[in-house]
Symmetry: D2
Subunit: 297 residues, 4 copies
């Protein structure tokens, strides 16, 4: 069943237990079914307690992560690559322990602006490594979803078509695409065509505006996004993501270059997003029905 | 092979031989591959000579017709229905004699604003009759393409989905859809979704703007049209249609309500349309390629 | 203050008192601020009672009308023209008596498909007559708003630019434009450009989809509509209009060629429209603010 | 008069004399009126000879530059800021010597991904410095045009509204905005609204696709861009910019993260862009005319 999620950084970048629990409450209050957390460190967070809360509130959960430069699995430096594998394995364990089934984010290489073009060797190393990690994930009941991000955040996988080729090279059946409309707006020829092309490998979707603020107030043709998702029969999670200078995560805000304040009232933002996505999906469904309606006299 | 055509009323509504031949010359000069004529009466036109000219100039030809009220094949009045069958049979002969392979237009019922809703009987009569006419057409090497038009020009087939149901009811394999962007803009939920839905039954396409003037200067999302045609692999005729009060056909101008002058220089209009369609198709092709480009490092 | 209205034919085409009152209740229940009625005959309707109900419910009211062929004020036949003047005068009285301030609809000529092009004399007669009627309206505290409709429903005023020229020719300051997105989608080069061009003469607006069904499920670029209305500072009534074969008005359904069933549940339709318009206006406001936001560090 | 330009990196990133001259020839051959060069070092390039060629070919010329980190005029480090002033002054001299009248690019701060949010002091230092540099430019007959770029390439001026506020703070009448559709697609609420908002301060425009490849094959609504430029009466230079991994500039390719090959045949790309822009401008002009066409009978 399709769930509508929200990224936790709409609420807070803190991983203090009280903040995490308030994040769950806000998520529920704003009408969402799923919370996406960035990696949480079990050393600092009571994962069992958080998992119980999530379950009690009947929320879904997903975990996303962007590999750091020092944990880039595509690196030719074994120590760096191994650190990346370790991070991924810990993320798998965290996801499973929280009751989640999906990992998203930049898993194939380091997150952040690169200074040179990628190489075929880098691609191959990453694919081979992820194929193995995907087995670990599978055993844990978790899928890997490779976020396809814009050129300024990665040099390896910028389009859905590259992601499909990469997945084919892994040979794994537990690796899918994590598409994000913010990134697609920069890299894809067309959001709708790209979604249709990637149809049966889309495992997770981020709904974000072109400037990362309120949905509908930017460049993205969301009607085309919802029409394409409806056309391919995507009936899985859609997670709203938005960043503003109001809530800063030292690491992520820098890599994603969040300088402007695009909102201060996160509850208003979240409720607006919930209405926007609901109305968008409903409209797409009605259009699909209308286009196929026989309407004989 | 995809041919780009033009409706003869861009050039002239006259069926005098000299005017028809000037129409062919203009069509060629403006860069088109195909001319669409409204029904020409062999009693007034030297069809053999026209056919020879068309062949000599290596032009394609298509014929369109809108059944008159007094020749409405969906009528319960046998005399009226039979008159319609006769008109269709003469159109088939004309098309064959001119070297054409397609008939388009409003073939299922009378063309023009109706005063009451259609009935199931009307639909059934029309389908049964067209099934027979389609056999005659098939023997002549000609297909029937049912133009799906807006509510003010017919009450029977206003959407592609209705057209598909109607074709299914005929049981014929020689009846296809004639889609027209001007009409789709009024009736369909979405031009792209409708083209995809009707994919394998589209036999002929009219490219016309929302106000019937210069392409690109109205409401229609032609990028979506060309993307969808590319996605379904449509590689058949696309014919530009435009009307202005500059060129009046007593019958058609009234039924299609042409009051405004949207152009006076038809050669400029036609050349613009030719460039617009060419650039649109090229752009759609490039987008489709880009969306599927593997681009491994 | 901007009010969001709804056309009464979403609820019922009956003018029985109980039906009219149920229409008011439905309007309120679905969250609208204003009801638009087609002309109601005081001979059959208790206007005072209806006016009191409207006032008690704190609803706004607008009246629309399409002149019949036999009451076409642009006619050279004095008897016909005078009948039209009489109809308009009665509509003014009705509007005033119901507590309304706006008359919309096809006031300049007969409503319905015409069979020949309009003439300059017709235009001039209509303008001269409306100039006088507008004085009567002014005295009653009512404005005349000329609906700009598509070619199949009138041959006189099909674009906002024609409407502006016509208003200039009347010399009246009590005549404005009644724009309707359904018609604009067919006739205007661009909905947003046309709204901007007509800016200070727009008195009333219909929000309708391209096929007259659920908003958002057709061709119209409503984001462009709301952006343009916001840009020109339009802060007046927006009325949702939708027709389906579910609710038939003998006269209007024929002239507007309503053959298909685009909805059966009118309360669902109306609530959807209310949400759609509210979200659209909110989004446009946010975009306008964002585009002008200084955001100095 | 509006000129259509092209960025030299479509042709070559080399500043060898022969390559620069071939760039001019290609520019002319592809039908452009203006060449935009990134800063050329007079120590390595025979500026007089290049200027003469440009004049002989009746081409316009513009110069763009992105300040390096070590020449960031917004820096609190005087030595760094002074280096920036020196770079700008040399760019002014170069532009004048080549016969140009416009400098574009990232002039207000360092080009490239920043690691922290900008400060008000930084903004103020930059504005004060540019006010002075603008006087030098004015004396040389050259305007400064501040390129508004996306968050990953600068943290200071990401929207046209910020640029307007910044220009106001300089107090200069010789500083304008350099808008670029690639960047606007990421940062602005709406390309058309932003162009209208910035109307009288737009000095230079880059036409680039969302992924920096072929125009029309990405996310940007170029019809909205051309409509807005037409609406504000922009009749100045429009320069096509496109990057592919095919042509690498060590510095710029890294800062702009060019990893993918979006074209190999630059002449085909350029000619396509020329046709695309010409057709886009023509279409926008026709739409503006149509929206205002009185069309009285």
């Amino acid at each position: 069943m399709a769930r509508t999620g929200i990224h936790s950084f709409v609420w807070s970048a803190s991983s203090a237990q009280a903040d995490l629990e308030r994040t769950l409450a806000n998520t529920k209050e704003a009408g969402f079914d799923l919370i996406e957390f960035s990696y949480l460190d079990p050393a600092n967070v009571d994962i069992d307690r958080l998992a119980k809360r999530i379950a009690d509130m009947e929320l879904g959960v997903a975990i996303s992560i962007g590999l750091p430069a020092e944990g880039d699995i595509s690196s030719s430096d074994k120590a760096i690559a191994n650190r990346g594998i370790d991070i991924l394995n810990r993320t798998i364990a965290l996801t499973r322990d929280l009751g989640g089934r999906k990992i998203g984010g930049i898993l194939s290489a380091g997150h952040g602006l690169q200074t040179e073009a990628p190489s075929r060797d880098q691609w191959n190393r990453s694919a081979a490594t992820l194929a193995e990690v995907a087995e670990t994930a599978k055993a844990a009941g978790v899928t890997l979803n490779l976020e396809i991000v814009n050129r300024f955040e990665s040099n390896l996988l910028n389009t859905a078509a590259q992601g499909l080729a990469f997945i084919a090279d892994t040979g794994s059946d537990n690796i899918f695409l994590h598409l994000d409309t913010f990134h697609m707006n920069i890299e894809e020829a067309d959001v709708g065509l790209a979604i249709r092309h990637a149809a049966n490998k889309i495992g997770y979707v981020h709904i974000g505006e072109s400037h990362r603020g309120y949905l509908g107030t930017g460049s993205i043709d969301f009607a085309a996004v919802f029409d394409a998702l409806t056309a391919i029969g995507y009936a899985d999670d859609l997670t709203f993501e938005s960043f503003s200078s109001e809530i800063v995560d030292e690491n992520l805000s820098r890599k994603t270059a969040i300088w402007r304040n695009l909102w201060t009232d996160n509850m208003d933002l979240a409720r607006h997003a919930r209405r926007f996505i609901a109305l968008g999906l409903e409209t797409a469904r009605r259009k699909a029905e209308l286009v196929a309606a026989v309407q004989k006299p």
